[in-house]
């Protein structure tokens, strides 16, 4: 199986169709295309040996091609509530910054996450967070809260947990249950733009990319039965209704599956019966369930060892 590398292309809209065609010829995948005015952002997976070819074309088009290590990762940015204390700064800044290297982020505000003694999360919220690949919890400025009180919000979270908070001197091991702690992103009422804040966001991106890499490495030992990007392409070909969806990422890739932003009741059979050239249907390769997010469809792809083969 060809190794695919994640890249982000940024350039003018003019002739960017050539890149899309090239990607089809090479067997790569366009994960997301965002057109803003005269600019276009293409997030794509390029076969390792063909990166030079794409680079050459992007140079001809006067665009920029850069690595996007969080491509195909869906991240939950969890803030204790959606009150003005956490939004729009810093939770939005964190979510926005994580999107630079290609991640899809969803902001989740817990209903009752605020406070020390009283904070709690609901079963529904935990299940919703667990649908993602990585959870980033944005906490406040008191080290006492971060180390002693808030970690109870991690109960029942099965995915890797990243915590952001104000205190710089805290270490990851001081926060029970967290896989990574990043300081200097606490409660602020201004945009994160001072040097130390932007540095903290950079180290957040770096840390999250490492966690994503680790998950990929674990996966490589027992690969998925089918690449999520390939399922994405098949859905685009076989379920034309996906083109009418207005959500920013109608098909959101995850490390071990994807979220299809179509109503479950109407479309789950079509998705289950999705056919591949090898003669198998998607329901043999993946668990398809109702997503906790709206009424979407969640596909979690089984591993090769479960299915017995991979395509």
């Amino acid at each position: 199986m060809a190794v695919l590398l994640p890249y982000l292309y940024t350039g003018g809209v003019h002739k960017h169709g050539l890149l899309i065609e090239l990607m089809e010829d090479l067997g790569g995948y366009i994960i997301q295309k965002v057109v803003t005015g005269t600019e276009v952002n293409l997030i794509m997976l390029i076969p390792e040996k063909d990166v030079n070819v794409v680079k050459k074309l992007s140079d001809e088009l006067l665009g920029v091609l850069m690595e996007a290590p969080l491509t195909g990762v869906e991240i939950a940015v969890v803030s204790p509530t959606l009150a003005s204390h956490h939004l729009p700064h810093s939770a939005c800044d964190v979510a926005e910054y994580l999107r630079h290297p290609g991640a899809n982020t969803n902001m989740i505000g817990l209903a009752r996450g605020m406070g020390r003694r009283v904070s709690l999360s609901m079963d529904y919220e935990r299940k919703l967070i667990n649908e993602h690949d990585i959870a980033v919890f944005t906490f406040g400025s008191f080290s006492d809260c971060i180390t002693k009180k808030k970690p109870k919000l991690f109960e029942g979270i099965e995915i890797p947990i990243v915590v952001t908070g104000g205190p710089v001197e805290l270490k990851t091991e001081d926060v029970p249950g967290a896989d990574l702690y990043i300081g200097n992103i606490g409660r602020v009422s201004h945009r994160l733009r001072r040097t130390e804040e932007v540095n903290a966001l950079d180290s957040l991106n770096e840390g999250v990319s490492k966690i994503a890499d680790n998950i990929r490495k674990q996966q490589a030992k027992d690969p998925l039965a089918v690449l999520p990007a390939r399922v994405m392409k098949e859905i685009e070909n076989q379920v034309p209704e996906i083109r009418t969806v207005l959500s920013p990422a109608p098909l959101t890739l995850q490390l071990d599956g994807l979220r299809v932003k179509l109503p479950y009741d109407e479309f789950h059979e079509k998705i289950e019966n999705l056919e591949f050239d090898e003669g198998v249907t998607l329901s043999e390769l993946a668990n398809i369930s109702r997503s906790k997010m709206k009424n979407y469809i969640l596909i979690k792809i089984k591993s090769k060892s479960d299915v017995g083969f991979a395509i």
Binding site: P80, G115, R117, S141, D144, G166, P167, R187, V188, S189
Partner: protein, 210 residues
């Protein structure tokens, strides 16, 4: 005590004293910054003379005492603009001198004359078409545009809630004369916490007499 006395007692610069206390230094800095940002976004900094905040996260406690500066009296149109009647054209022309009150002024004018009769040829001018320019001009001159004290109270409460850690939802607030005391916690408030905040206020008041 009458309010006028409170006010005449205190003469001070804006943010003459700005103290944030907490057991951990770095946390003080964070809260200082949060308070600064919120003061700035609510445009409260000029109205506040002295402020002291004490944070005790281990007790889930936030205490704040503020001494306000003289906030001024009610503002009428004539304080902020020249009003001129143009009988021939059937117009009243308002030439603005203090721009910060334009939103309040416009809201009052729209209510009375309707948006269709009001135009703003430039940033400093508002023209109103009316049948009785002379009488309307006289009325507009005396019209109250803003009551800074009322607005200040609203903003102070908003500021206190924005600055407090979000979970601290049991609150006590006192606004009397130019003194403002705010205590918030997650637990039921203890009497001594409020008394402590009162002591902070006394400390601030004395601070100015030195």
């Amino acid at each position: 005590m009458p309010q006028a006395m409170w006010r005449s007692e205190v003469r001070m610069d804006s943010l003459e004293t700005f103290v944030v206390e907490s057991a951990i230094d770095s946390e003080q800095e964070f809260y200082r910054k949060i308070i600064e940002d919120n003061l700035a976004s609510l445009k409260l900094a000029p109205a506040i003379g002295r402020i002291k905040v004490v944070l005790k996260p281990e007790d889930s406690l936030f205490q704040m005492a503020i001494i306000l500066r003289d906030v001024g009296t009610k503002v009428t149109t004539i304080d902020i603009a020249d009003v001129e009647s143009k009988p021939v054209a059937g117009e009243v022309v308002i030439s603005i001198k203090k721009e910060q009150y334009i939103p309040e002024l416009l809201v009052k004018l729209w209510e009375r004359y309707g948006k269709a009769n009001i135009s703003q040829p430039d940033r400093w001018t508002v023209t109103i078409s009316t049948d009785k320019p002379a009488e309307e001009a006289a009325f507009i001159k005396e019209m109250m545009v803003a009551d800074p004290r009322h607005r200040l109270h609203e903003n102070l409460v908003d500021f206190a809630i924005r600055a407090t850690p979000e979970g601290f939802r049991v609150r006590y607030h006192l606004y009397k004369g130019n003194h403002f005391v705010f205590v918030a916690s997650e637990e039921a408030l203890k009497r001594e916490w409020i008394e402590e905040a009162g002591a902070m206020l006394d400390e601030l008041t004395e601070g100015g007499e030195k």
